[in-house]
Symmetry: C2
Subunit: 211 residues, 2 copies
């Protein structure tokens, strides 16, 4: 049976609407109070796993799910061994460098060498500053990265920005965009190559159903 | 001013009660709908930062908070450069190896070499199996680790267990305990050594206030 890894959080609603276009209904996952992490599609022909966004490529890489939806930001940060089938266009956001609005910096190059940059995206942040030839000390955080500059722990942050509201509420401004991100359809490479678990049937339909 | 990093989640309520015993009231953080990540104590003499459990030692290591409360599990996994002042006794849980109840394994040594073990505690899991001299493939997950054995991705998991309810609900059984964990009071080493930010005043009182 086809198994699909779906990400909890911001991309879930659009991901479910997308699979609905090829006849796979996983709306049970959106019911308030749902605690199930696995559901069958309404027609019983496929299964969805509800997992953290960062775990989607893990399930797909190990072949426990043949398909998954995940943000480009996660693919850039983790570089998993999965087949990137298509950019789905939804879930638009950007990975950006931001600083306190009161700081004197107007571009990432203005940051002082060996300053601290707080981020959940340690590898992406590191690669960006290496490319600028600016040595910085990346402080890895799991949540509320905006607290870094507020508390004075870090001069800057590298974080995902969608509407910009969180930055604004915390007195931060965007200096520079590192890359923009949208949701991607990914597949387990071997299952995709060999058309296992109904991928030969569903993948052309899914590609055709991109809005 | 003394700044204290408090962990979101399971340890928060007991942590706030603990600081209340030395006259520092951070109950504002418990108000329903609170969105503030920084609050002053009611008497205005100290500040609390509300951060993810894994971020507590980061704020303390960099000295942005002079004190923090964090689970021993996080200290074991991250090994941060902080001073461990005291075991606070609350927040009891254990890091354990678990497998499907239907599996033939009755101890961690029974697991087949090169099997997969899913965990958020990658370093602790790795160290445990190295010590057993059992080579395993650790699959790093961020959430819902119990899905690993259920989907067949992993033969076992290494995860925190408190009541055991999540394991039971998912048809898993505990094989072996790796270590037990409770909340710890930690300090920024230099601030502690030099009695900065009122640590000379608060630390003896805090040690005396352990239940």
């Amino acid at each position: 049976m086809l198994t699909i890894a779906l990400p909890k959080g911001a991309l879930l609603k659009d991901s479910i609407a997308y699979f609905q276009r090829v006849g796979l209904n996983f709306e049970a996952l959106l019911e308030p109070g749902n605690r199930q992490l696995q559901v069958l599609s309404q027609d019983g022909r496929a299964r969805a796993l509800l997992v953290r966004a960062q775990d989607v490529p893990v399930y797909v890489q190990y072949g426990q799910a043949q398909l998954g939806i995940v943000g480009y930001d996660v693919l850039r940060e983790k570089n998993p061994h999965v087949a990137k089938l298509a950019d789905l266009g939804f879930g638009q956001c950007r990975l950006s460098v931001a600083v306190k609005a009161s700081s004197p910096y107007r571009s990432a190059r203005d940051l002082p060498p060996h300053c601290r940059v707080a981020s959940k995206f340690v590898r992406c942040a590191d690669a960006f500053f290496q490319q600028l030839d600016l040595p910085v000390d990346i402080v890895p955080l799991y949540g509320s990265v905006e607290l870094g500059p507020i508390t004075g722990m870090a001069e800057a942050i590298v974080d995902l920005v969608s509407t910009g509201r969180t930055l604004k509420e915390n007195g931060l401004v965007e200096l520079e965009q590192i890359f923009s991100s949208t949701a991607y359809l990914i597949a387990h490479p071997r299952s995709y190559r060999l058309n296992l678990n109904g991928l030969g049937h569903y993948v052309p339909q899914l590609i055709g159903a991109i809005a």
